[in-house]
């Protein structure tokens, strides 16, 4: 289920700022391209034919339940895990079959952020940030200068000489992000980077990732099991279940009209749903003086004007639940209405020009 919609590539991302090399074909060539990637552990398939591309400069959210294969997938991208079969291209070159020695230079082009931060406890914050540069062979003065620069970027200038133990979880993850950025990577892989943090800290880390993406144009593949994370930062989302991509598209679109059951389950609690006491009383067929309950999903500016327009055409409808939220600067509306059964045709006609999606959920006998 791939949706056709323009890729939301940030304006300056296509200029190839991340690697400092102007690249004419950058916008066309994906940073990551997977084709039918498979990986089994014993008899259970962890990756069951994954095909996916990540465009230059985008933030792709890869969401799935625990055990869906997210970590296995992300680890295949820098060769920490090897697929049984399939194609994995990073910046256009296939990495499947590379030896450990051949993978090492490639890994320097890819930064990684971890759920448990994985900072070296025996090194100061600045030495942690500078470690990728030490591995890349930079001399000490240069790499420490660069580490300071990055600590400025993530707002931890004053912690440069501290040891990680003196930092809070959010600060540790900022160091992790600075470290991932140190070698000017083309791609950042983030495996549940906010799963060990409280909601407020999560928000600030996600804002930092978004900011880095916008300022440096670095491509980010973000793994999570929380839709809220996807909503806050991702441009596009891919839903993985049992090692397969079950749904993929722009975040606003998937939030507005999820198709796969997994997506719907992951979205419950994040978007409006029919109140439980109403859902409990739904009957499949109409009753004498009863009402019907419908849901309306609508995106774009019309989301805000839908209900006022409806008021002039239909009498006796009521809003039970729902509202408009903004995802990727786009209004996304979801409404649950109760209205007389006789007004269904009018409602359908009213919704046609706005492209809204109407679903009749059931009927109720009397007022709810």
């Amino acid at each position: 289920m791939t949706r056709q919609a323009p890729l939301p590539v940030p304006a300056d991302a296509a200029s190839g700022v991340a690697d400092g090399v102007p690249n004419q074909s950058a916008a066309a060539k994906p940073v990551v391209r997977l084709d039918d990637v498979r990986r089994h552990f014993g008899t259970t398939p962890a990756l069951d034919g994954i095909s996916l591309t990540v465009a230059k400069g985008e933030i792709l959210g890869l969401i799935g339940r625990s055990g869906a294969g997210k970590s296995t997938l992300i680890r295949c991208l820098n060769g920490l895990e090897r697929p049984d079969s399939g194609v994995i291209e990073i910046e256009g070159s296939d990495i499947v079959g590379l030896s450990e020695e051949q993978l090492q230079p490639l890994r320097r082009r890819i930064g990684m952020i971890f759920q448990h931060f994985n900072l070296l406890s025996a090194k100061t914050v600045e030495d942690n940030v500078a470690l990728p540069l030490k591995i890349a062979g930079w001399d000490r003065a240069k790499r420490l200068a660069r580490a300071r620069e990055l600590l400025d970027l993530v707002g931890l200038t004053d912690k440069a000489r501290a040891y990680p133990r003196a930092l809070s979880g959010g600060q540790k993850q900022r160091v992790g992000i600075a470290r991932a950025l140190a070698a000017n990577p083309a791609l950042i892989l983030s495996d549940e980077a906010t799963s060990a943090l409280d909601p407020e800290t999560t928000g600030s880390i996600l804002a930092l990732l978004k900011d880095i993406n916008a300022r440096l144009g670095v491509t980010i593949l973000l793994i999570t099991h929380e839709m809220e994370v996807v909503r806050q930062v991702a441009d596009r989302v891919a839903v993985i279940d049992k090692g397969r991509i079950v749904e993929e598209g722009p975040v606003w679109s998937v939030f507005s009209r999820p198709e796969a059951d997994t997506t719907k389950a992951l979205l419950s609690g994040v978007r409006a749903s029919l109140p439980r006491h109403v859902a409990a009383r739904l009957a499949p067929s109409a009753t004498a003086r009863g009402e019907m309950i419908v849901s309306i999903d609508i995106t774009g500016p019309q989301a805000a004007t839908l209900l006022p327009g409806l008021a002039t055409e239909i009498a006796g409808w009521r809003l039970i639940h729902g509202g408009v939220e903004t995802i990727q600067e786009r209004p996304v509306g979801r409404f649950f209405l109760a209205l007389p059964v006789s007004s269904l045709a009018t409602l359908q006609a009213h919704l046609v020009p706005s492209g809204a999606h109407l679903e009749v959920l059931g009927h109720v006998a009397d007022d709810v």
Binding site: L80, Q104, F114, N118, A136, Y163, R179
Partner: protein, 218 residues
Amino acid sequence: MSPMMYSLFVRAFWETVIMTVASGVISLIAGLPLGLLLVATAKGGIAENLWVNRVVGAIVNGFRSVPFIILLVALIPLTRLIVGTSIGTWAAIVPLAIAATPYYARIAEVSLREVDRGLIEAVRAMGGNRWTIMREVLLPEALPGIVAGFTVTLVTLIGASAMAGAIGAGGLGDLAIRYGYQRFETAIMVAVVAVLILLVCLIQWLGDVLVARLDKRI
């Protein structure tokens, strides 16, 4: 204590110190790489090689299971080959070091194995090779445990060096047996025990202070 006894005592003290330190340093230099080798070649290690792991593990276990007093005698030909004699302080260092090396290798192995695998993964993800992982992750992160283990090894060696008196190694243990036990000079016995206790406490204290300074975890 007579002046003669006193000079005997001082000499024995230094003999103990030399035996302990020399064999301790050798066991550190040889045991730490052995511990690294055991961790690196273990299943899921950075240089997994189960064959090497099993063979080295078996050799280490073999040496560890021989009682020291037997090792002391069994190694006499080797000692003679290396030191030129099988009697005296320097001769005792050979069996002491050979007994302490596998002992320390196992202690170092435990510390190295406890290093968070996530850290190794992070450095691999940066493009680090095995040597980088050893230098930047395994050794620095395990350093407090490596030092604490070395302290334990030194303390154990002080005890073992007393046994080496059996091959005329000298040292405080030898003094205590010959004078304190065989000639009923209780004062010597008490003095030896007191000095040994002080020595052990001093080493343990130094080790603990060093570990506390090195340990940057939590």
